[in-house]
């Protein structure tokens, strides 16, 4: 066997975590490196662990550990391992796709004995980097991104020996090196086993080299030792382990007895203070506080007795019987079907129940805004795409902006948030839009490179808006397809913005279009507009029109108009930003015309006022609602301005309205019409942009000329006076959503394009 194909034993130590274990095993099916076996060491469990493991019979070696002891459990796995490399991962973690590939690559260096990668903490509120090349001293002082308040209590920097360490959920060793030092110390029932092994390996002259790649995503699950995401943790086990590791390694490193004792006292005292802090923060009750403190004291004594007086509890038979002999063959975990398994949601463990004829794709979507942090046009569409592609079995990564570097999971997609770091392109500081967008685009490129390395992504999909994918496209490291939406240049022209900043942003959009591997306009009109605005003429085989789709609401939430019921008052709904492009002034003019003809009508206008940005305030000195109130004061009681509304409110508005109106002068597509149609509402729009490709005139709604308020009023009146049409058009719209504009239909179309582009650009890309 060549060194490139060194075998790996993945060891999972589990106890009463059947759900997370199932997720992990499903995720391991997607590993890019096939030469590995999986050993699961089951601790005391009373849940469905055995049932989960029975699903993998013949592919997973199952061993048992009689006690809830992590050190012992790890040793059992180590003793049974056949791989040249042993890799440990927690049962509540999920590896990146190229985790083993990266580790195996590192172990090609024959001098390397231990390594490990980054650990991302997947937390519902505070996701973060949990571990990234930590350092530990012989007196258990940690310099780590996890450094907590507890670490700050105890004075650091006194240990004589400092070594790099890995985190237990992402560490790998050369099996022979680990066995030579006697495996793990079984005194560590939980925590510090990883730090101890690093110190002992270093003492034995072994080489440890943690890296920034090969990430693992840690989704903490509850166990007998802790309740996830709370402070309900058996902290005294920390004290016990910390005291023990200090004594054993401090003495080994030659730290003075006085230093060791002082450090132990500091640790016990630190934990004592820590429990007090938790009590003050109301994380513990008074009785819990004192139970914890007594347990801390007892654990400290226990750690000192075992540290000073008793020998280490190492595994017996410290080395392989014959290291020169060929190791026994591993039992490969992956089967013939593994490559075609659908992606799995690492948080919920959900995997779409579909069978795939081809291996699923690994796609990276870009969107500066993304739910739940921001919910606007491009972000909303990207979210729908991510949901649809995941439901079709593909692995989806989304790169978006965030306050700090972190990874979250949202509806099946990996959401990588990047902070805005203005480190480059300093000469464009005077052009803020260009400056921010270029820096973000560069940060995206760097993230994409990491995702290529660690997750094996095959394609990047960038919206034209804010040209997130420009630097990636210029670099040429991966195919970049571009979703054509309303161009910034178009909006700048509409708002009369001729500043250098807007000009250059438009130029960058054009550059992105020219460098794209493929273009994905949502309508024919969008494509035409891009051709006119940028003067580009993309080849026909580089363009595919993909109409957008949405998730149909359940039938019981649909509220079609009831033509037989007596209605006191009809409601006309407008949803969208209040700005010139959205035709809000035309609607204002049409409202009095309607109210003069139909009495029992009210208008509801939901959306943020954008009068400041579109120049309306500059010209008139007032906002749009104020303008309407002063200009059409007589009709103001029948018009309600709601401002920006929540998703829940929006849902209720769609359900309660009778007619939906959005007279935009231009819309590349108009997702809002689909949202209204989803609730079986007839819609009125204009012949502007891609709207005629969404609204079937006379079938699902009516179309009028843009900028024609009288025609708009006539259309509204004609529908309000015909209850039967309100019902029929609404139902026809719902039918369109269920078939033509379904988000899974959209996802299938996108996936088809991605696959063809990958095959064209990289025929050996493995699709």
């Amino acid at each position: 066997m060549s060194t490139a194909e060194c075998t790996v034993s993945v060891i999972i130590n589990t106890s009463e975590r059947a759900g997370p274990l199932r997720t992990l095993l499903r995720a391991l099916e997607h590993q890019s490196y096939p030469f590995f076996e999986v050993i699961v060491v089951v601790g005391p469990s009373h849940d469905d662990t055995e049932k989960v493991l029975s699903e993998y019979e013949g592919r997973v070696r199952v061993l048992h550990c009689p006690r809830a002891n992590l050190g012992q459990s790890r040793n059992i796995g180590l003793a049974a391992a056949h791989g040249e490399i042993v890799a440990f991962i927690d049962d509540d973690a999920v590896p990146s796709r190229c985790w083993l590939e990266q580790l195996a690559r590192l172990f090609r260096d024959p001098d390397l004995d231990a390594t490990g990668g980054v650990v991302y903490l997947v937390h519902p509120n505070q996701p973060a980097v949990q571990h990234r090349i930590g350092i530990i001293s012989s007196l258990a002082e940690q310099v780590d991104v996890r450094r907590s308040w507890l670490d700050q209590i105890v004075p650091p920097g006194t240990g004589r020996q400092w070594v790099a360490r890995m985190m237990g959920t992402n560490m790998a060793f050369r099996r022979q090196a680990l066995r030579t030092i006697g495996g793990f110390d079984e005194y560590f029932v939980w925590v510090f086993d990883d730090a101890d092994i690093a110190l002992r390996l270093a003492n034995a002259g072994k080489i440890i080299h943690p890296v920034l790649e090969a990430p693992v995503y840690h989704v903490p699950a509850s166990s007998r030792r802790r309740v996830a995401f709370t402070y309900n943790v058996r902290w005294w086990i920390h004290t016990r382990s910390a005291v023990y590791i200090t004594i054993k390694n401090g003495r080994q490193a030659g730290d003075s007895l006085c230093s060791i004792l002082l450090r132990c006292l500091h640790l016990i005292h630190g934990h004592w203070l820590w429990s007090g802090q938790l009590w003050r923060d109301k994380q513990l009750t008074f009785s819990q506080l004192w139970r914890m403190r007594l347990a801390e004291l007892w654990s400290g004594v226990d750690g000192m007795v075992h540290g000073f007086l008793l020998p280490r509890r190492l595994m017996t038979g410290t080395a392989d019987p014959d290291p020169e002999a060929d190791p026994p063959a591993i039992q490969p975990f992956q089967s013939g079907d593994s490559a075609r398994q659908p992606a799995v949601d690492p948080v919920s463990g959900y995997r779409p129940a579909i069978s795939l004829p081809d291996p699923p794709l690994r796609i990276c979507l870009l969107s500066s805004a993304y739910p739940p942090a921001q919910y606007e046009g491009v972000g909303r569409l990207t979210h729908l795409m991510a949901q649809g592609l995941f439901e079709r079995g593909h692995t989806v990564h989304v790169i978006t902006r965030g306050e700090r570097e972190q990874v979250a999971f949202y509806d099946g997609a990996y959401v990588h948030q990047l902070p805005t770091r203005l480190e480059r392109y300093g000469r464009y500081q005077g052009l803020p839009n260009l400056y921010y967008a270029l820096n973000h685009s560069h940060a995206v490129y760097e993230k994409v490179r990491r995702l290529i390395l660690n997750e094996g992504i095959q394609i990047v999909d960038s919206p034209l808006w804010q040209f997130d994918g420009l630097v990636t496209a210029v670099s040429g490291v991966i195919p970049v397809v571009v979703r054509l939406v309303t161009a910034l240049r178009q909006i700048a022209a509409l708002h009369g913005d001729a500043h250098d900043d807007a000009r250059l942003v438009g130029e960058m959009e054009k550059a992105l279009i020219e460098r794209a591997s493929h273009l994905l306009p949502n309508t024919q009109a969008t494509l035409e507009t891009v051709r006119q605005v940028y003067g580009v003429a993309p080849a026909a085989d580089r363009v595919t029109i993909v109409p957008y789709g949405i998730i149909p609401v359940p039938d019981d939430q649909v509220r079609p108009f009831n033509p037989d019921a007596q209605t006191d008052r009809l409601t006309v709904l407008y949803v969208g930003r209040l700005e010139q492009r959205k035709g809000i002034l035309d609607l204002f003019e049409a409202i009095p015309l309607v109210l003069r003809q139909v009495e029992n009508v009210r208008f509801v206008i939901a959306g943020a006022d954008n009068s400041q940005h579109d120049g309306f305030q500059r010209r008139t000195g007032v906002t749009y609602p104020a303008y309407f109130a002063s200009r059409y004061a007589r009709y103001a009681p029948d018009v309600e301005f709601l401002g920006s509304v929540s998703e829940e409110t929006l849902r209720r508005l769609y359900q309660s309205c009778d007619l939906f109106v959005a007279p935009s002068l231009f819309e590349s597509f108009g997702l809002i019409y689909l949202e209204a149609m989803n609730y079986a509402k007839p819609v009125i729009g204009c012949y502007g942009g891609g709207v005629p490709e969404v609204i079937d005139h006379g079938v699902t709604g009516l179309l009028t000329e843009p900028g024609a308020p009288r025609a708009l009023a006539d259309a509204i009146v004609s529908l309000l006076r015909s209850p039967q049409k309100l019902y029929e058009m609404g139902m026809a719209g719902r039918e369109q959503v269920l078939h033509r504009f379904h988000y899974l239909t959209m996802a299938d179309r996108f996936a088809q394009v991605y696959r063809s582009v990958i095959q064209r650009e990289n025929p050996s890309g493995g699709v």
């Binding site: 020996q161 000469r427 464009y428 270029l438 210029v474």
Partner: protein, 239 residues
């Protein structure tokens, strides 16, 4: 009048940033090549006949970019030097073992010239007229051990005040004992650093003197042809 920025300039900057990001630790040689290629391209863009006359701002901008590239390279080289130093310390048994640093790729000569493409060596200190920093400062560094004085605020309670003050003093003494231990360790580190700096300083002064001597020797040998001694009659060339 200032010319407007063009899309080509922005795209050039993107490519420049991409090149910068491609300087990995173990490929310094290739990185130097990339910088040189970029410089050649920039030079050709600015000065080639037939091209439009480059504005001084544009030339300065390119120069800054090249400076940035070189600084990045220097930073990478410094990181590698630091790794090497750590390895030396490790070899001396002062630190635990870790993998060896990557070896930089050899710098290939520039095609056609045979000249090495690495950055040019700095001028000798004596020639550049620079004074080694800290020559005087090192010698005047204080070598006093770190000390923290015991300072106890007396408790002014009747009867028990005196006892509480003594108790407080006892606690403070205990704390100072440990602080003193840390201070001793730090003093030892400081002393070692000072010793190393002093030795380095001496070596530097010595090297400077050697350089000066060599420089004078060189000046003496490279006098004009009319002043040079006539060796034509000598049967052997001068050594």
């Amino acid at each position: 009048m200032k010319e407007p920025i063009t899309a080509e300039q922005v795209l050039q900057d993107i490519e420049f940033e991409l090149i910068q990001g491609m300087v990995p630790h173990d490929e310094l040689g290739a990185a130097i090549q990339a910088v040189r290629r970029f410089q050649n391209q920039a030079r050709a863009d600015a000065f080639s006949p037939g091209r439009r006359k480059a504005e001084y701002r544009e030339i300065a901008s390119r120069q800054f970019q090249i400076n940035d590239m070189l600084l990045t390279l220097l930073q990478e080289m410094a990181a590698q030097l630091q790794t090497l130093q750590l390895e030396l310390r490790r070899a001396a048994g002062l630190l635990p073992a870790s993998p060896p640093p990557p070896i930089p790729a050899p710098v290939a000569p520039e095609p056609g010239t045979g000249r090495p493409t690495g950055p040019s060596l700095p001028l000798p200190i004596a020639e550049s007229g620079r004074v080694p920093p800290g020559v005087g400062a090192i010698a005047s560094m204080p070598q006093e051990p770190l000390r923290v004085e015991l300072l106890v605020r007396p408790v002014r309670l009747p009867l028990i005040g005196r006892w509480l003050t003594r108790l407080r003093a006892a606690f403070h003494s205990l704390a100072l004992f440990y602080v003193g231990r840390l201070a001793d360790q730090q003093t030892a580190v400081n002393r070692a650093v000072w010793e190393s700096l002093r030795e380095l300083n001496q070596a530097l002064v010595h090297q400077q003197q050697q350089l000066q001597a060599l420089h004078e020797q060189w000046s003496a040998r490279t006098v004009g042809p009319d002043e040079s001694p006539d060796h034509s009659a000598d049967p052997m060339p001068p050594p």
